[in-house]
Symmetry: C2
Subunit: 157 residues, 2 copies
């Protein structure tokens, strides 16, 4: 299985890049993993939040293919604990999913079109995190999921 994280917008913080790279490097020991950043639409006087979401949504759709299994990281998604999340990933492998694509939206979230295309929505917490911090949290959870799947000691209950 290939796993991809698609995220909208470059991060302003170096520590987010350093941290995600650290965990993604570890993830690549277990699975083909690819992190792709989609350029965000700059907020301007001519573009309101809803148009921004719409345009970013079009870019997201153009970056995925028909057979990809799409998982939105979305605050209205299903909350899981780390063990259930690792079970979710294991299930995709068991189902012979070829490309599992996680998507982190831009500052104003996802457009209707992206919601319609999604196969799953997962929430990492009831709390709202900046869409940059979410990358870091996701990176650590993905690494933790593979350490659980492989019975390694990183995760202890």
């Amino acid at each position: 299985m290939n796993i991809c994280l698609l995220a909208v917008g470059k991060t302003d913080f170096n520590f987010v890049n350093t941290g995600t790279e650290e965990y993604f490097k570890r993830v690549k020991r277990y699975v083909n993993f690819d992190f792709r950043v989609i350029k965000d639409i700059k907020n301007s006087k001519n573009i309101d939040n809803s148009l921004q979401k719409q345009l970013e949504g079009e870019k997201i759709i153009s970056n995925i293919t028909n057979n990809d299994i799409i998982v939105l990281l979305d605050e209205n998604g299903k909350e899981m604990n780390s063990k259930i999340f690792s079970g979710f990933i294991q299930k995709q492998m068991n189902n012979s999913v070829k490309n599992l694509v996680f998507i982190i939206g831009g500052a104003y979230g996802f457009s209707e079109e992206v919601y319609k295309r999604a196969n799953y929505k997962i929430s990492l917490s009831q709390m709202t995190f900046s869409h940059q911090i979410i990358r870091l949290i996701f990176a650590e959870q993905l690494y933790r999921a593979f350490s659980i799947i492989n019975n390694e000691p990183y995760h202890h209950e």
Copy 2:
């Protein structure tokens, strides 16, 4: 009100220090804030997990005073969204709390004594995060809480 974050153990990752410093700098615009690290007990053959928790618990207790209001960041605590968390902090200020102390435990969690002393337990997510990543998440949430209390635009629903 003074807010303190007590955490057990130095972080291995520079990006965690850089990230928490960034948010704590912002938090200090709103409130007296202090971040204190308690040296952890090194895991060794002579010390099992439960003794490690016990000894770390004694250090935690010796770092707090009788009138401090103690909030454990604990995966069995109450989950809150960011707005409810900001309301929790506002309530402590309204109650004229002098010292509000958040505590992040070591790798094996808190001892019974620490649980007994705690006033509140809050969970940041159903997911398990490394106790280092928790510092970063907490730092962003504390900043977000003050931006909500002060009606600033950082948090948008």
